[in-house]
Amino acid sequence: MKVLKGIAASPGIVIGKAYVLDSEEMSIPQRSIPAAAIPKEITRFQDALTQTRAEIQTIRDKISKEISKEHGDIFNAHLMVLEDRAIIEEVMERIKKEKLNTEHIFSQVLKKYVQAFLKIDDEYLRERVSDINDVGRRVIRHLLGDQRSTLSEIKEKVIVIAYDLAPSDTAVMHRKNVIGFATDIGGRTSHTAIMAKSLEIPAVVGLENATRQIRMGDTVVVDGIQGILVVNPTPAELTKYKQDQARYVDFNKSLQRFKDLPCVTKDGRNIELAANIELPEETPAVLSHGADGIGLYRTEFLYMNRDDLPNEDEQFLAYKKVVTAMGQKPVVIRTFDLGGDKFLSHLEMPHEMNPFLGWRAIRFCLASPHIFKVQLRAILRASAFGKLRMMYPMISGVSEVKQANKLLEEAKTELRAKKTAFDENMEVGAMIEIPSAALTCDIIASEVDFFSIGTNDLIQYAVAVDRINERIAYLYEPAHPAVLRLLKTVIDAGHSKKLWVGICGEMSGDPIFTPVLVGLGMDEISTSPVMVPEIKKIVRSITYAEAQELAKYVLTLNTGVEVVNFLKLKYQQILKSSK
């Protein structure tokens, strides 16, 4: 038996067989091949090159047509790397001489070139390394027969163990048969964690080397509450975990009675309790958990797993589906938040040293109005079918909001000209996730109808911590006094201008923070659907008056640790008194 420690990413306990995926840094197998198999090995190499060439050409043509010829030209550089005579000849020579499998030799040869390039003191050449790696990954994926596609073909119930799971992995994953996740990297707010929560399956992330310690078919326990993974447990441990699992299921059932009750404090303050979703398919889970609406509808999924851009009709249908399913309940849709860890793989953005501080989200959209306006029109058209609200991500100041609103007006004018219906009064909001926006909310307020605080980014920008880097994860403190002060600043500024203020980061799904969020005056809390009943239970167990007192006190504390300790204590008291 082995116990691996990680980060609890999605609650629950599950026991099952491990399905180990190759890591993205692809652990490339090394195999000897008999002399007779050499011609076959060389044919495999040539086939992989042909397939990769066709793939790159297709992407190039689509990108040239839909974005710009310059973006397409990047792929011509990729083709030159792919067709490079020196590489091809060296790989074939070495296969013959060393009698090892193609993927191993090919990756060795590429590595040699990458190292040579990195040594040269020339920025242009060093940048080409990402081109080489990209081409290399494509070829190797073809050689390995795209193992990751097997995710869609899993036939039995398994726990997926991976280095990391990309959005494209989780999208193809067989929903019913994947009962848990565990990954080597990532934190509480990584894509894997968010997806696991929305799929309602237990997950542990940041395990560092789970892929190397676990074999296909091992029995594993994913404890998404403690953040541990137990490999091949003893019979006694297995029994204990089965009991824990049963207890957890009971606890969840007990929360179900809150489903149809309003989210209101004991002294009558209503909190709009909404849910975050990533895919239209998650809408039923929002309703079944008793949320009042959708507080964050991410739209990036439209861009995943494809080589072209989604057109207006396609986007419209996806948005309409969610709005219609929610009936008269509000849906807050977020415009494209591409970039950082989520950027479209096929747009081949220039490599950035600091993607989280880079060209993404509203910055990218304002620079690409031809892409952005397609989405704005699609959202407007969907607004005719329910209660839709829209917000812009990554706003750093009022000028961006003004520019975006100008494009929105243009989109409205275009629709009016075509006599297409939309909601003339659709609310427009700004996401507050950059400290500069939080501190100038009073200025931004005049341009919008609401604020939604994105705490994941707000915290990482406020404390200067990359939330994906495990080494400094301890510094990522939602309870840091600076974060609490920023929340208060935004809420107070919003209220003084008669705006409603919501929160949609991971912080909103942690029940220990619920009293302080209510006490600060938050009007809306949006979290993963699975957390809705528990948050509702907390809100219904407190009064607004005592929550305000609590918030006032918490703001006098000096460190995040003090705040968390105090809030945990309060949380325990609330749970006890509500029984």
């Binding site: 310059e70 550089a77 030159m80 790397v81 490079d84 005579r85 020196a86 590489i87 000849e89 070139y113 040579a116 390039f117 040269i120 020339d122 242009y124 050449l125 080409r128 080489i132």
Partner: protein, 95 residues
């Protein structure tokens, strides 16, 4: 047939980025083998990767060796390209 020539790079960008890819494209139009030497290093002139690892800057002296049936024609075109300080006229400036 084998043709050898020493050529000094006058293009300010040296022989990488766009100029290297143009060189490779020209070399690949011919049947002959193209070898480029800088000091003790020798690379395949039809390989962009090889050529770029040479890191030939403005002022570097390269030795070109072209061997094959169309060696003379190939050498003439490659030499003309290297001796011009403009890039491939069809392409415009490198980014």
């Amino acid at each position: 047939m084998i043709v050898k020539k020493r050529i000094k790079i006058i293009n300010p960008q040296g022989l990488h980025a766009r100029p290297a890819s143009v060189f490779v494209k020209i070399a690949n139009r011919y049947e002959s083998e193209v070898t480029v030497r800088k000091g003790s290093e020798a690379v395949n002139g039809k390989s962009i990767m090889g050529l770029m690892t040479l890191a030939a800057n403005q002022g570097s002296v390269l030795e070109l060796e072209v061997s094959g049936p169309d060696a003379e024609k190939a050498m003439a075109e490659l030499e003309q390209f290297l001796s011009s300080d403009t890039e491939d006229p069809a392409k415009g400036g490198a980014k």
